[in-house]
């Protein structure tokens, strides 16, 4: 018998083993290939921001970042704080953020309560309709609201002017701070609802039980149970959407910029693209750093609050027993009418006005007589304008390349995050989350400076190029995509990969043959969402725009600003159709694959 327990073992004296290695270190030697993705992620996110931060502390004779005679200076910040032009955007931004959050979250909580907690008829259909605008590009929505709220000819103002005592122009003004705030609030509703609904749902079970057991009054139940339970969840949504609103660009740009109503993000843009004179890079630089801090710091705090990014998957939720509140009589119909009214006003009316405008030769209030003027010239113009083909090609190239690169990097990131953890895993966990706090306009400015700097030193021709735009889109989408692929890969037990490793398959074979095919629904989903996002993104595309990299969203924005409303409406509808189509296709693909793999 070979008896060799630890105590009785008769092994010859070993040389003393080295101090124990940390498990992750010892393992990481064999996977040099994998953390390339981690390095890429870190470089992609950090380099532009470092350039931005560094150049904010320099000035040069030419005014260009790192231009001739560049030296360290605080002049940019001094200008930001002494220049009177900053006061307006700061005040506007605060009103805009607080106001749109109040509108967006109150509507979301109200709708979530009606849908999750009551016996409202047609709940599921209404929920889908409220969430649907998530697939509508915000630049398009902005144009629609611009048409509806136009002080002279806007449909809503025309209707309001029918009230005795109300005279035009107005009373509402599309370009006012109030209008852009409320419209941005509407923009926040679909995603807020997706985040708030599980919070409301998870509270219901505990609430019912507590009510039964203690017999506490309605007010006590609300203050002692409901709010403390929902508090953390709602706070998380609040912080996340605060960051969204703080960096919002599309609505303020489409509605407010021409009318002189600026928030932080659009003030940066107009410093770079002034109506007259040369771009003021120094001012844009200093403001960008401030806006970055304004959005990034809450986002990091939010990350610390909710912990690991997997926990973000509140949307899955646990299955609680639903004990809906039975709505009766008048209350039921009042709630139903209110919800249908919201859907009509916020979801259907903007689409309708776009459709109407796209088939009218000039702005006309919808009427029977105007029906006779219906024509399709705008659509014909869209397809026959000489630059149309190159714009569409640029848009598709941007969407396809950005989505493909992002999916590759995100999949590798998820692998590092889930399978290896360690330093890069932790870093990617932070990045996957915190990148939401990098405002698009700030990233645009950073990449602009990066391209100006590299072009002046290495003559790469990055400025205004397609590759620069693709790079920017990759960075913008990396966080969200990594979360989607991480959720997908999290469903695949690591044993499936280990089994392939034991069969002798190297890392890339394992990913290619086992992991990627199994998580293909998640990757397809991430790909299509990135594609749709790249198509509808205005912020980055307009900041980095040049004649060489013009995309549909920029074309749309330009035509709107030039007053070519018909073509803008037609183009906007087409863009919306593609975006909605892609999103629906992603859903179909996902559910199809899920069924197949049981």
């Amino acid at each position: 018998m070979v008896l060799s327990g630890p105590r009785t073992g008769s092994m010859p004296q070993q040389r003393r083993s080295k101090p124990p290695l940390r498990a992750s270190q010892a393992r990481s030697r064999s996977l040099s290939g994998a953390w390339i993705a981690g390095v890429i992620t870190v470089v992609l996110v950090c380099v532009p921001l470092v350039v931005l931060l560094w150049s904010s502390f320099t000035v040069s004779k030419t005014g260009l970042p790192f231009g001739a005679g560049s030296h360290l200076s605080l002049a940019n910040y001094r200008r930001v704080f002494t220049d009177g032009s900053l006061v307006h955007p700061v005040v506007n931004t605060l009103v805009f953020v607080v106001g749109s959050l109040a509108v967006g979250l109150l509507i979301s909580i109200g709708i979530a309560t009606l849908i999750e907690r009551t016996t409202l008829p047609f709940r599921n259909v209404l929920f889908a309709l409220v969430v649907a605008p998530v697939a509508m590009p915000q630049v398009v929505a902005g144009i629609a609201w611009g048409l509806l709220l136009d002080p002279r000819v806007g449909l809503i103002n025309q209707l309001l002017q029918a009230i005795p005592g109300v005279t035009g122009p107005g009373p509402l003004n599309a370009g006012s701070l109030g209008s852009i705030t409320v419209v941005e609030g509407f923009m926040l509703v679909p995603f807020s609802l997706l985040l708030v609904a599980p919070v409301v749902r998870s509270t219901s079970g505990a609430l019912e039980e507590a009510a039964v057991v203690t017999g506490a009054g309605r007010r006590a139940r609300l203050t002692k149970i409901v709010l403390p339970l929902m508090g953390p969840g709602l706070l998380a949504v609040l912080v996340y959407q605060f960051v969204t609103a703080a960096q919002a660009f599309d609505i303020p740009a489409v509605l407010g910029l021409e009318k002189g109503t600026k928030v932080f993000s659009t003030a940066i843009y107009s410093a770079l693209n002034p109506a007259v004179g040369v771009p003021d890079y120094g001012l844009a630089n200093g403001m960008s750093v401030l806006l970055l801090a304004f959005a990034l710091i809450p986002m990091y705090w939010y990350y610390r609050m909710v912990g690991r990014s997997e926990r973000f998957a509140v949307i899955t939720g646990k299955s609680y027993r639903r004990r809906p509140i039975a709505l009766k009589g008048a209350a039921k119909w009042a709630a139903f009418v209110a919800l249908v009214g919201y859907v009509f006003f916020v979801v259907i009316l903007p689409l309708f006005i776009l459709l109407w405008m796209s088939v009218q030769p000039f702005y006309a209030t919808p009427s029977i007589s105007a029906l006779g003027r219906i024509e399709f010239d705008a659509y014909r113009r869209v397809f026959t304008v000489s630059s149309f083909l190159s714009t569409v090609r640029n848009t598709l190239v941007l969407g396809v390349l950005a989505a493909t690169f992002v999916c590759v990097i995100a999949t590798m990131n998820s692998w590092l995050l889930l399978r290896r953890r360690g330093f890069f895993g932790k870093l990617i966990d932070v990045f996957a989350f915190v990148t939401h706090g990098i405002p698009g306009v700030v990233l645009g400015v950073s990449l602009l400076f990066l391209s100006l700097t590299t072009d002046s030193h290495f003559h790469l021709g990055l400025y205004g190029s397609m590759p620069l735009l693709v790079l920017g889109m990759v960075i913008v989408c990396l966080g969200l995509t990594t979360r989607i692929t991480t959720a997908g890969m999290g469903q695949i037990h690591r044993n499936l990969e280990d089994a392939a490793e034991m069969c002798g398959a190297g890392l890339f074979t394992r990913l290619r043959r086992i992991t990627v095919p199994l998580m293909s629904p998640a990757i397809a989903n991430a790909w299509v969402l990135t594609f749709a996002y790249a198509l509808s993104n205005l912020t980055l595309t307009v900041v980095l725009a040049s004649s060489r990299n013009r995309v549909v969203a920029v074309e749309l924005y330009t035509r709107w600003n030039f007053g070519d409303v018909q073509t803008a409406a037609a183009l906007g509808l087409l863009l919306t159709a593609v975006s909605v189509g892609a999103t629906v296709a992603a859903r179909r693909f996902t559910s199809h694959k899920e069924i197949r793999h049981g």
Partner: protein, 398 residues
């Protein structure tokens, strides 16, 4: 077919909250070529971690692992899992759901360390191995359309198709129902013998270990407590924990009175002692270095107690006998489980299924001295002690 030698293998995880967790603490084992070796332990004993260290899926933090003449892991040197030529069967089978049975098995062949096979040769080999595990007809079946037992066989076929030097099995039967498990134990043994591979098998099921193993290593808290054949482990466990882990046991506390010569009919090479207990003086086989004056536990397996109704029947020389009252009689099919109270101590015994055992009736329990083992408590923890009968524990402190 190669041997596997572990020398002072250690695996320590660095916990994020600070402080390290030792999963495997300095393990020495030598597993002979062609042997079916079982690592037996409760969950958390470090057996799966040890297996994954051998596989190369975990790095070791100290010591050395050798397979054949190759050192695959020691301090600075690590042979990655993909180059160790090891086959592995996972607890949940880890069958790739997007491939057919044939593709699952062929994958292993294509990436094999021992030279990959392709085309017709590969197809032939896949068929061959699937025939061995009895799935020859299911080559083109999608992997998700298999029962648990079939998935288990695919996992096995995949693990052995490339003729690995060592086969590792991580609780491969724990997800099967009881009947299928019993069948697969024999099947697994047949297949590994047929393939002539060194097998290391992890389980928490002591029956599985006893039925299948050539040798067993019992593990607890990252340490090996005893290595031996199933018979050795069961009959002469090294300590209290092993004794209780591998099967049902009566434990009686006592103190060694004297060393005595082997009783008639017992192995004269073995050492016997008399032990003072609450039930009187009993003769027992001495385990390890047990000697006069030591506090010991006497281990008696319920099935080795003979049950007599006749108190006046003669007692064979070298046998122990105690008399008590039947407290419970539970019919269990093949036998009846008895609980007999002897001087305030409850002993479990087995009677023939159809013996009429009435609760309250007196019985005599006899047992040969070689079936009573005197153990030290060496590796027992307070937790293990509290699971024992409190009255016995109290008796010991007198």
């Amino acid at each position: 077919m190669k041997d596997v030698v572990l020398s002072r293998v250690e695996k320590t995880y660095s916990a994020t909250s600070g402080g390290d967790v030792a999963a495997v603490r300095g393990i020495d084992l030598s597993i002979t070529a062609g042997e079916f070796f079982v690592l037996l332990g409760a969950s958390g004993s470090g057996k799966t971690t040890l297996l994954r260290c051998i596989a190369g899926l975990e790095s070791i933090t100290g010591g050395e692992i050798r397979i054949g003449s190759t050192v695959v892991a020691s301090g600075s040197k690590v042979v990655p899992a993909v180059r160790r030529n090891i086959g592995m069967v996972f607890q949940d089978y880890a069958i790739w759901p997007h491939m057919t049975v044939g593709e699952n098995v062929e994958f292993a062949l294509r990436h094999a360390r021992s030279g990959s096979l392709k085309g017709e040769a590969a197809k032939k080999r896949v068929r061959e191995v699937l025939d061995v595990v009895g799935l020859g007809d299911l080559v083109n079946r999608g992997a998700t359309y298999l029962s648990g037992g079939q998935q288990q066989r695919v996992a096995l076929a995949r693990a052995v198709v490339a003729k690995p030097d060592v086969l590792l099995l991580d609780e491969p039967l724990s997800n099967l129902d009881a009947r299928l498990r019993a069948l697969m134990r024999k099947e697994l043994r047949r297949i590994t013998t047929e393939l002539g591979v060194t097998a290391i098998y992890v389980t928490h099921d002591q029956i599985e270990a006893l039925v299948m193993a050539d040798r067993i290593a019992v593990m607890r808290n990252g340490e090996v407590l005893q290595v031996g054949s199933p018979q050795e482990i069961y009959r002469t466990p090294a300590d209290l924990f092993v004794g209780e882990f591998v099967g049902e046991a009566n434990m009686i506390g006592g103190r060694v009175a004297a060393t005595v010569p082997s009783p008639a009919g017992c192995d004269p090479e073995q050492r016997f002692v008399t032990v003072q207990t609450r039930l009187g003086t009993l003769t027992a086989l001495a385990s390890g270095d047990v000697s006069q004056g030591h506090d010991v536990w006497l281990l008696i397996r319920p099935e080795s107690l003979h049950v007599c109704h006749d108190a006046s029947a003669p007692i064979s020389p070298g046998w122990n006998a105690v008399t008590g009252l039947v407290r419970r009689a539970d019919f269990a099919g093949a036998h009846t489980e008895l609980t007999v109270e002897v001087d305030g101590v409850e002993l479990r015994a087995q009677a023939h299924a159809f013996d009429a055992m009435s609760v309250g009736s007196p019985v005599t329990l006899t047992v040969g001295a070689q079936w009573v083992v005197a153990l030290t408590e060496r590796a027992a923890t307070p937790q293990a002690a509290t699971t024992r009968d409190a009255t016995i524990y109290a008796e010991r402190s007198h």
